[in-house]
């Protein structure tokens, strides 16, 4: 038996390494527990990002414009309480809709559904440029992450988004919500085990709590039972929560068509080549993902479409293993509306990224982790050059780096960063 024991011990030693990001979150949670006397462990920051990321899954295809008068019916529900209006206002301060703002004062209740854990409520508010913003509120939550859509009816398609509560430590509380084509009386969710779940439709919208289940089919029917729309559910980011996103050896997600990967952007970094690739999802629509040194990272988005209704999606993320750690910026910026993204650094340096096929990708040089070289801000530039969105990194970016440069491993990494910076410059 000695052989198996030794083999198992050796295997556990070699089985893999935690990412620096996971380690940092765990350390934060541990120290948080010390501070709080062990009462309330802080949750992973991943969960807070999820609603923003899954909003990308909102499908907006085949629109047929309707008169604005029809939209009025959507605002006949009870006025939103002040806390919701404030949450909508705060939630809209992201880069997703830089050219408009949510008119939170006009927010109304659109759909409400009862669950064992409390009510799920879909709130709706107009934007200053005539679009609609919707936000699902989970029981007991005050924060909202609105997703904004055009008022156009979705034609023959079902638009949907998957939402996860901000405070969810586990993916056992997800919901799907969205909009159905005109004339839809009922919506059925189909699951991989052959079961279905009927969902009520109200004013053309629906909400369905999912728990940990993931539907793979949506079917909209008229009152007579005739099918109006039937579509596969894209393997969006939200549906990978609670399940693992499987990857091939080349770093591509297994939900994409094999052999169809196309590299959109490459960049050489200290941790190896950084790439942004794309391939069609087997569920329809494109997937994009980032690899470093030919291996997978946590960054994957799969959507039914990334169309013009989403003018901008940007994300600052971390990737890589211990000792090979990179801050990565990636974003979707349709070329017809945006000309680039500009970063300003504390040492006066300016880096401007130009979109390629609508995408930008940037691995920050290691010396930008040092205070004197840290990034200060990001500007999103319109095609005419003016700034349509400004974001400061003065606190969030540098404090995050501060976390990673703490502790035994962080000190070692800081040493490398300093050494590396002596021989590498802009």
């Amino acid at each position: 038996m000695q052989t198996e024991a030794e083999q198992v011990k050796q295997w556990i030693y070699l089985v893999g390494e935690p990412t620096l990001e996971a380690e940092a979150f765990a350390l934060q949670a541990t120290l948080g527990a010390v501070t709080q006397g062990g009462s309330q462990p802080p949750r992973r920051a991943f969960a807070r990002r999820v609603p923003v990321l899954v909003a990308i899954a909102l499908l907006l295809l085949g629109a047929s414009v309707v008169a604005l008068a029809d939209i009025g019916g959507l605002f006949s529900g009870a006025p939103a309480p002040l806390s919701v209006k404030q949450a909508l206002q705060n939630g809209s301060r992201g880069p997703a809709w830089p050219s408009s703002r949510i008119v939170a004062d006009k927010a109304r209740e659109l759909v409400r559904t009862h669950t064992a854990k409390g009510d799920l409520v879909l709130w709706i508010a107009p934007t200053s440029d005539g679009n609609l913003c919707l936000a699902l509120q989970h029981p007991g939550e005050r924060r909202l992450s609105p997703a904004c859509i055009r008022p156009d009816e979705p034609g023959g398609r079902i638009e949907y988004a998957v939402d996860v509560p901000f405070r969810a430590s586990k993916a056992d509380w997800r919901s799907i919500w969205g909009r159905v084509p005109r004339g839809t009386a009922t919506l059925a969710l189909g699951f991989s085990d052959g079961t279905t779940q009927q969902v009520a439709v109200s004013k053309g919208f629906f909400i369905a709590p999912l728990g940990t289940r993931s539907p793979n089919l949506l079917v909209a029917r008229e009152a007579s039972g005739r099918v109006i729309a039937r579509q596969r559910v894209a393997a969006a980011y939200g549906f990978t929560q609670g399940r693992v996103m499987m990857f091939r050896a080349d770093g591509s997600p297994k939900v994409t068509e094999a052999g169809a990967a196309r590299v959109l952007i490459r960049q050489s970094t200290w941790a190896g080549e950084l790439t942004l690739s794309t391939a069609p999802s087997i569920y329809g629509g494109p997937c994009q993902w980032v690899t470093i040194g030919g291996t997978k990272t946590g960054f994957v988005t799969c959507t039914g479409s990334l169309d013009q209704a989403h003018p901008l999606q940007v994300a600052l993320t971390t990737s890589g293993l211990h000792d090979h750690f990179v801050w990565v910026f990636s974003g979707y910026l349709p070329n017809d509306r945006f000309s680039g993204v500009r970063f300003r650094f504390a040492d006066g340096h300016v880096v401007t990224l130009r979109p390629r096929a609508g995408w930008v990708l940037y691995g920050f040089p290691p010396f930008t982790m040092l205070r004197e070289h840290r990034p200060l801000s990001m500007d999103v530039l319109a095609t005419d050059g003016h700034v349509v969105h400004h974001e400061s990194y003065a606190s969030s970016y540098t404090s995050t780096f501060g976390t990673f440069l703490l502790g035994r491993h962080g000190l070692r990494m800081r040493g490398w960063v300093i050494e590396w910076s002596k021989t590498h410059h802009w």
Partner: protein, 176 residues
């Protein structure tokens, strides 16, 4: 700082020392994470379990007997957390998803690939017993406590797992 024993650090953590908590975390996080990853097979699961383990360590630090080694205690908590997560998933997910074989282990080390495949084929229950017994050196009674099953079940799972592992080795050898 580096010269202090786990016992001393635990005492300091009880006094509210964040510095001592950081040192304990730095010493043991990777070992705990690897144990969780070996049992669960998924990074996300290992991340959650390892994080919860250290938060629980702080929450239950008063219950810990500092004369006993810390790492096995932590690894046992981590194993429990992974098993709990998997149990919940199996209850909540369709059978075909729960049965899905998931392998995210690093098979890049020379010679490790075949062993990774054999461990993956074991399935979660048998793999957990193997990891707890031979990886973490727990006795059958302790494993029974972690898994919440009778000792007899642990012994039978262990025997079947070893048989399967050896058969796989033999088949591999026969196949060249």
């Amino acid at each position: 700082m580096g010269g202090r024993s786990d016992e001393q650090l635990v005492r300091d953590v009880r006094g509210g020392s964040r510095e001592a908590a950081t040192e304990l975390f730095t010493r043991h996080y990777r070992g705990v994470w690897k144990a969780a990853f070996a049992i669960g097979g998924r990074r996300s699961l290992a991340d959650e379990a390892a994080q919860e383990t250290f938060v629980r360590m702080i929450e239950r630090i008063d219950q810990y007997d500092p004369r006993r080694p810390l790492r096995p205690w932590l690894q046992r908590i981590a194993a429990n957390r992974v098993i709990d997560h998997l149990r919940r998933e199996r209850r909540d997910r369709p059978l075909e998803e729960a049965a899905e074989r998931i392998v995210e282990w690093d098979a890049s080390e020379a010679g490790a690939g075949a062993f990774v495949e054999r461990m993956a084929r074991l399935g979660t229950e048998r793999r957990a017993v193997i990891v707890l017994r031979y990886g973490l050196d727990l006795g059958p009674a302790e494993i029974a406590d972690v898994l919440g099953v009778p000792v007899g079940t642990v012994n039978s799972r262990l025997a079947r797992a070893l048989t399967q592992l050896r058969e796989e080795v033999d088949a591999h050898a026969d196949g060249g």
